[in-house]
């Protein structure tokens, strides 16, 4: 593979040292600025989105409360703490969520009651929240990190603590943009000017801002997955050293302790590790396999600990995952057909699981264009049709760039296969989980937020689209793409403002 060309001010310089501080110093300024844009964006979303009006935020807040105040993990049984119950009641969550005809509190009297009850909750001697609903099945790393801002805000009300936790999520949104920039830099080393399109484009994705402006482990999952994509790309570019292998193994371990959805990403990342090790063994010999063994040991350590802990306590080895496996129903072929149709048009011979619905567009594309709050805040219908125009143009430019560089891509088939397995694994996981409750619910996890871990691939596609416009017009098209993403983000925020406060 050819070395990167000399580029603008953010051109890559390979770190020769190995220290973390040195590596940080070598991160281009443009990457940090992309991170700053994503942070500002998520911080703005954290302010405009009312507390708890993000899917499952009450449960995630309860998890942090339990962990921070008691040091114990929550369960799926019991009730929210009285402090949270009062806040949920005064903020009218049951009335407002999923019911766009109702809005958040609007009178001074409601505000005074809320502040009074928050003060009561603050003085409460009750510790923790045993119940965390759907969040209780998730691993604890994100919540443990969120316990820091939660504890820092211990002198304030629950809403103060939620806002501080949301700001930590916003920082994670920044990391997602940063690693996306770095991933695009490694994946497309010959078009330095296009890296910014990928990094900034992802930083401005409204759904990233929405999720990173909330208390939700998805925000950290996006960041860890982006870092994993970057680590894989970097190892493919410069070869797998022991440090790379350990870093990749550690990222998989962090991902697995962040959110269960990383189970879909992990096989692809581990495949990358194996492919890279086999390749490195040609020059490094046995040392490459020792690095692989160390990395695998690190990567699977959370799973091993999880199994040991459950077996020791007499629970099923895979804990709550076991019950999900038990719920699987139907034939494997039926499940494969369902997963296919969840994303793509039905093939001949398949039973029609989504009659009358073009899932690619109506679930995924429309969901990406805009669906906020508790999936109760869409744009007017014409917006989704209109969005097909710029999306089609970007896709066409991207295809043009891919076709133009088909020769170079052939030499990177394995690397591309690894990215496909990472993304495909996540899609299969989402599909398989949705199939558990199908047909009672058509696509329970048919929400774009579950696919946002693939944002680095979107970043690469945007950079390719700019490149597809050619050397002369590429930066202009890149600027247009970024302006488009800014407009999309601002109008998405306005839509949320109109829904909750209009």
């Amino acid at each position: 593979m050819s070395r990167p060309q000399a580029g603008p001010r953010s051109s890559p310089q390979r770190p020769t040292g190995t220290s973390f501080r040195e590596a940080l110093r070598r991160v281009p300024v443009a990457a940090w600025l992309c991170a700053a844009v994503a942070c500002l964006n998520a911080a703005s979303w954290s302010i405009i989105t009312p507390p708890f009006e993000v899917p499952d935020e009450p449960e995630h807040v309860a998890y942090v409360k339990q962990l921070a105040e008691t040091g114990h993990l929550p369960t799926q049984h019991g009730n929210f703490s009285s402090e949270e119950v009062l806040a949920l009641r005064d903020l009218r969550l049951q009335t407002v969520a999923e019911k766009p005809e109702y809005q958040t509190i609007s009178s001074q009297a409601q505000e005074e009651r809320l502040q009074h009850d928050l003060a009561v909750g603050e003085r409460s001697l009750e510790k923790g929240s045993e119940y965390a609903g759907v969040a209780a099945s998730q691993p604890p790393l994100y919540y443990a990190l969120e316990a820091i801002p939660y504890s820092l805000g211990a002198g304030g009300t629950l809403l103060d603590r939620i806002e501080l936790m949301r700001l930590l999520s916003a920082l994670m949104g920044g990391l997602t943009a940063l690693f996306t920039f770095l991933f695009v830099r490694e994946a497309l080393p010959r078009v330095p000017w296009a890296w910014l399109v990928g990094g900034l484009g992802v930083a401005l994705v409204p759904l990233l801002g929405f999720m990173s402006g909330a208390v939700n482990p998805d925000s950290m999952l996006y960041a860890v997955t982006a870092a994993t994509f970057y680590a894989v790309a970097r190892a493919f570019r410069s070869g797998l050293t022991r440090m790379h292998a350990v870093a990749l193994g550690a990222l998989v371990a962090i991902g697995l302790t962040t959110k269960l959805n990383f189970v879909g990403i992990a096989p692809g990342a581990l495949l990358g590790l194996i492919v890279l090790s086999v390749r490195a063994a040609r020059t490094l010999g046995r040392a490459a396999y020792i690095s692989l063994a160390i990395a695998l040991a690190i990567a699977i350590s959370p799973v091993a600990l999880y199994v040991v802990a459950h077996v020791a306590s007499g629970a099923p080895a895979l804990g709550i995952v076991s019950s999900a496996i038990d719920l699987t129903h139907g034939s494997p072929l039926g499940e494969i057909s369902y997963i296919w149709q969840l994303y793509l048009p039905r093939l001949p011979g398949m039973h029609d699981d989504f009659a009358g619905i073009f899932t690619t567009r109506q679930i995924w594309f429309n969901g990406y264009v805009g669906l906020y709050g508790w999936l109760d805040t869409p744009f007017p219908g014409w917006v989704y049709w209109f969005a097909l125009i710029p999306a089609g143009l970007i896709a066409a430019l991207c295809v043009r760039a891919v076709v133009a560089s088909a020769g170079a891509l052939k030499g990177r088939a394995l690397e591309l296969a690894v990215y496909c397995v990472m993304g495909g694994g996540l899609m299969v996981l989402v599909g398989a989980d949705s199939y558990i409750v199908f047909p009672r619910v058509g696509a329970e996890y048919g929400q774009v937020r579950y696919l946002l871990p693939m944002l680095p691939l979107l970043g690469a596609a945007l950079a390719l689209a700019a490149r597809g416009a050619g050397r002369r017009w590429g930066p202009i098209v890149g600027a247009v793409i970024i302006m488009l993403f800014i407009a999309h983000d601002i109008f998405s925020q306005l839509q949320v403002v109109a829904r909750f406060y209009g």
Partner: protein
């Protein structure tokens, strides 16, 4: 400075044009009126039943306010089916609309052609084109059979909650102070200054993006 054959000027023109178009679109959007609820068939939110099959039903004695631009039905589902509505006066269709499948949530909004005058005593008919798999819950007020919505299989358990929507009289611009005040309620640090903070964050973001593009490509 030239980069890849592109000089500063076209880039600045592209950015400037983009900003002007964005600001103009924002101005036009905010000069429009928000959609308001002109009429609600019932304030109740009771569960009337669940169906997985295609369902057509009509409920009489509805009021269609003038300038109604959309009708909102309370139907809960995850991936909504195609929905069609018709409003009939003396058996004649006076308004109709369709919403394609794929919507999600607890309500479905179907755009209709506005009428210049209100009509009372009309019949609202709706069809949910369900395919036998996904289920939909009808929500509204439980009533006696005579008052309930009627399907060809007989009366439903009551009347579905229907909202008739039309553009309000005030523009978003004139509502801005009220919206800003509401945005300051129910949050960690109460006050209208939250809106200014959002403006600052978004303004900083746009500025930063523009600076970066000029810095990297200019």
């Amino acid at each position: 400075m030239a980069l890849h054959g592109v000089t500063d000027a076209p880039l600045k023109i592209a950015l400037g044009t983009g900003l002007v178009i964005g600001v103009a679109a924002l101005g036009i959007t905010l000069s429009q009126s928000p959609i308001t609820v002109a009429e609600v068939s019932t304030a109740e939110h009771g569960l009337l039943g669940t169906t997985t099959q295609k369902l057509s039903a009509c409920q009489s004695n509805e009021v269609l306010p003038r300038e109604t631009s959309a009708i909102r039905l309370r139907v809960e589902t995850f991936i909504g089916p195609k929905v069609a509505v018709e409003v009939l006066a003396h058996g004649r269709v006076i308004a109709h609309g369709e919403r394609e499948s794929g919507w999600t949530g607890g309500v479905v909004t179907i755009p209709v052609e506005p009428l210049s005058m209100a009509r009372s005593g009309v019949e609202l008919c709706f069809t949910l084109f369900l395919n036998g798999d996904e289920s939909a819950e009808l929500v509204g007020e439980r009533t006696t059979g005579a008052l309930a919505a009627q399907s060809r299989f007989g009366p439903l358990a009551g009347r579905v909650r229907v909202e008739y929507l039309r553009p309000g009289r005030s523009s978003w611009w004139s509502l801005a102070p009220a919206v800003a005040r509401r945005m300051g309620l129910g949050r960690a640090w109460s006050g209208t200054w939250n809106v200014l903070l959002v403006f600052g964050l978004m303004g900083g973001m746009v500025l930063l993006c523009s600076r970066m593009m000029l810095r990297e490509w200019g």
